[in-house]
Amino acid sequence: MAKKSVFLFVTVLVIVSTLLAACQPTATVAPTAVAPSDTAVPTAVPPATAVPQITITYWAFGTEGSTMTGGGLWSDWYANIFTQYEQAHPGITIDFALKGYDASGSTLVVDTAVAAGTPPDIYFDTKFRVKKYQDAKLLEDLTPALTAADIAAYDPAVLAGSKSSSMMWSIPADGGYWNMIVNTSLFDKAGLTNLLPQAPDYTWTTDQFMAACQAINDPANNVYCTAFFAGSTSMDSATNGWLAGWPDCKFFDAAAVQYTVNSPACLEAFTFLHSIYEKGLMVPGAAGLIDDTTDPYWLGQNVAMLDQGNWYDSITKSGVAAGTIQPFNYIFVQVPNKPGAPASPVGMSNPDVWGVFKQTDTAKLQAIYDLIQYMQQPDIATQIAVGWGKVPVRTDSNFTSTDPVVASPLAAARKFGSFDPYFVNGVPCGYTDVRTAWADARQAFWQDNADIKAILDTFVARADAIVTACP
C-alpha cells in the first residue's frame, strides 16, 4: 500500500510539474517586415521624425560611475549623445542604462532580463558576450542599419566576425589592439634594460625573452618575471595572445569548423609557456588566480612583464590618478616570436559591438536601425573606441593617437599585422561553454608535470563536441 502511494505521489508530481512548465506562454514570433539584404540599404532610410513616440531601451556594458579612458563618465557621454539625438529625432526617447557583469564574466543582468522577456532593445558589449544571444537566435539582422559605404569602410576581418552564414548579428564599434607591457622601472633598477627589445620595433625572440625573464626574476624579493591566470574564463586572451609567436598555431579552424589548438605548432607554444612555469619565472598559483587577483602584482611592481598591456595600462593610470599606487615607467613591446618566425603580430580581439534583440514592432525596429546607423558613424564610433582605450575599426575614421597604449600596438599592427587569438572569420556557436572548457584546460595546464598534449586533446574533444551539439 505504501509503495503504491509513493508511486502515485511521484506520478502526480511529475504530471503536475510538466503541466506547469508546459503552461507557460510560448515565444512570440518576430515579424520579418524589415527585410534584410546583402546589399546595404542606402540613404532611403526614412527620417526618424516620422516615427511617433518610440522608446528605445539601450544598455551598454559598464556600471554607474564607469569612466572613459582619458577622463569623463560614460553615463555623461551617452547622455550628451542621446540628448542631441532625441532633439534631432522628435518622438524618439532613448532609455539608457549601464549594466555590469558578475565575477564569472557573464552578463547576468542581461540574461535575467532576457529570461524575463524584457531584454533591452539594443545591447552594446564585447563580441563574445553578445554572441551568446545570437547562438540562442534572439538577435535581429543588422544589415539594414548599414549603407554600402559603411560596409566598405569597415576592416573586413573585423566585420566578418560580426556575421554568421545568413545575417549580420552585430556591428562593431571598435577593436582591442594590444601588445605586452613591461615595467622598465624594474629593469632600470636591476640594470637590465639592455635585455629588453629596442625601439623602434620592440620585437624579440622567445630566447631573448627567456634571458630577460630569468634575469629579472627574483622571488626572494617578491619580483616575478611574469604572471598567468586561469582561475576563471576572464581575460583568457591574455594567455592566448602568446600564440602570436607561433604563426602556425591556430586556436580554431573556421573552414573545418574544428578546434585545432592541439596541433604540433600549438603544442610547441604551450610547451614553451609551461617552461616559464617549470622554471619558477611566474607568480605561483596560476590555476587559482584570476585577473583581479593578478592586478595587484602588477600595480605593486611584483611582476615585470604581462600580455594584454592595454588592460594593465588602464589600471595603472587609474591607480596613479587615485594616488593608490606609486608611479612607475613602462613600455609596450611585441609578444616574443619563436626563433626563425616573423615578428609577432599584434593581438586583436574583443571588438565592442551593437546587438539588437528581436522586435515585434517594425516601426520601432526601423528607429533602432536609424539609431545604430547614427552611432556607428566614424566620429561617434571613434569616441567610443577612444573611451575604451581601443581602436576604431572603420578605415575612414582617420584615427591617430599619441597615447602609447594605443599608438604602440597600432603602429605595430600596421607593420606586423594583427592576430585574433581565438577566431578568424567569426565566432562559432557555443563559445560560452567552450570558454568554460578552455578555463578548465588552462587550470590543468598550470600544474606540475602537466601532460600538455593530453590536456589540449581533451579540450579539443570537448570543444568540438559543443560545436557539434549546436542547433
Binding site: 512548465a21 510560448t26 582561475g231 598559483g285 587559482g288 578548465d440 587550470q443 598550470w446
Partner: protein
C-alpha cells in the same frame, strides 16, 4: 452530507487558526512549491535564455547527465564535502561545547559569541578573508608554514588543496550554531544523572562518552540533518575562492547548477541537476528521519 456538515462546522471553529497560518503557507506555495514544481517540469525541456521557446526532450537531460564527467565529478565532490565537513563540524563543535560547558556563565557567553560570530559574518565575507590567507605569495598561511620550514603550498590552485581549502573555510562558519545547540542540550541534562555517575566513580571522559553523548542524541541528529542539507547546498565559498577549480576538482552540484544556468544559460539542464540534488537530499533526510523515529525526542 452529514460528514460534510461536520467538516464545515469543524473548519469554522478552526478558521482563525487557518487564517493565522495562511500567509506562511501562501508564501511557501508561491516561493517554494511552485518554483520546485516548475523546475521539475523544466528539467524535461531544453531551455535557454528565452524559456518560452523551450523544447520538450523528456528524460534526455537526465541521460546526458549520467554521461557527463563534470556532473559526476561535482556529485562525488558534493558527497565528499558532506562526508568531510559534517562529521568534522559535529566533532569540533561537540568538543568545544564540552570544553565550554563547565565554564562560568560569563565565560560561556563570551565563547558562545566568539564561535557564533563567523556564522553571522557569512561565507562571502569569510571567503574574502581566506583569499588573503591562502594567497600563494603573501598569504598568512604560507607565511606561517614558512616559519617552520614548510615550502609554500598553492592552496587554491592545486588539487586536493583547493578541496581542503573550501572545507576549512566552511568549517569556520558552520561550527557556531551546533556549539549553541550542543550547549543547550548539555544544559538540559539533569545534574542528578551526572552526580550519580560521579558517585559511581566515572571520570570526565567516561561521563562525556557514556552519559552526555547518549543523552545528546536528539540534538546530534538534528545537527546532522541540518548540516548535511547545508553542506549539500554549498555554493558561495566555492564561487568566491576556487570557482570550482582547478579543473572542477572543488566544484559542487549547486555551483554546477549556477554555472549551467547563469553562465551556460542552459536552464533545462540546470533544473535537471537541481532535481537530482533534491532527490539526494530527500534520501539523506529520509534516512536521518528513520533514525529520529527511534529517538525519544
Amino acid at each position: 452530507m452529514i460528514k460534510f456538515r461536520a467538516f464545515a462546522r469543524e473548519f469554522r471553529k478552526e478558521l482563525p487558526g487557518y487564517l493565522f497560518i495562511a500567509p506562511g503557507y501562501l508564501a511557501f506555495i508561491a516561493f517554494m512549491l511552485v518554483p520546485i514544481l516548475f523546475a521539475i517540469g523544466l528539467s524535461f525541456y531544453k531551455a535557454s535564455f528565452d524559456i518560452r521557446a523551450r523544447l520538450f526532450v523528456g528524460f534526455a537531460q537526465y541521460i546526458q547527465l549520467s554521461k557527463d564527467p563534470i556532473f559526476k565529478m561535482a556529485l562525488v565532490n558534493t558527497i565528499e564535502y558532506a562526508l568531510v565537513i559534517v562529521p568534522a563540524t559535529i566533532f569540533i563543535s561537540l568538543v568545544i561545547a564540552l570544553l565550554i560547558e563547565p565554564l562560568k556563565p560569563r565565560a560561556q557567553a563570551f565563547f558562545r559569541g566568539a564561535f557564533y560570530i563567523p556564522g553571522v559574518a557569512g561565507g562571502v565575507v569569510l571567503s574574502v578573508v581566506y583569499l588573503w590567507i591562502f594567497n600563494p605569495t603573501y598569504g598568512l598561511l604560507n607565511f606561517l608554514l614558512g616559519q617552520v620550514g614548510i615550502k609554500p603550498i598553492l592552496w587554491l590552485a592545486t588539487p586536493p588543496h583547493s578541496f581542503q581549502a573550501v572545507c576549512a573555510v566552511v568549517l569556520t562558519f558552520t561550527i557556531g550554531q551546533p556549539i549553541i545547540l550542543f550547549l543547550a542540550g548539555l544544559a538540559g541534562i539533569s545534574p542528578d544523572i551526572i552526580d550519580a555517575a560521579t558517585v559511581d566513580g566515572a571520570n570526565s571522559m567516561q561521563k562525556a562518552l557514556y552519559i552526555r553523548l547518549p543523552l545528546l542524541r536528539p540534538v546530534l541528529l538534528f545537527v546532522l540533518a541540518t548540516q548535511t542539507i547545508q553542506v549539500f547546498q554549498l555554493w558561495e565559498v566555492i564561487y568566491m575562492i576556487t570557482g570550482g577549480g582547478p579543473y572542477n576538482t572543488s566544484t559542487s552540484l549547486v555551483y554546477l547548477i549556477f554555472q549551467t544556468a547563469f553562465v551556460g544559460s542552459n536552464y533545462g539542464k540546470a533544473s535537471a541537476i537541481g532535481v537530482v540534488l533534491m532527490v539526494i537530499i530527500l534520501i539523506f533526510t529520509a534516512i536521518q528521519l528513520r533514525f529520529w523515529k527511534d529517538t525519544d525526542i
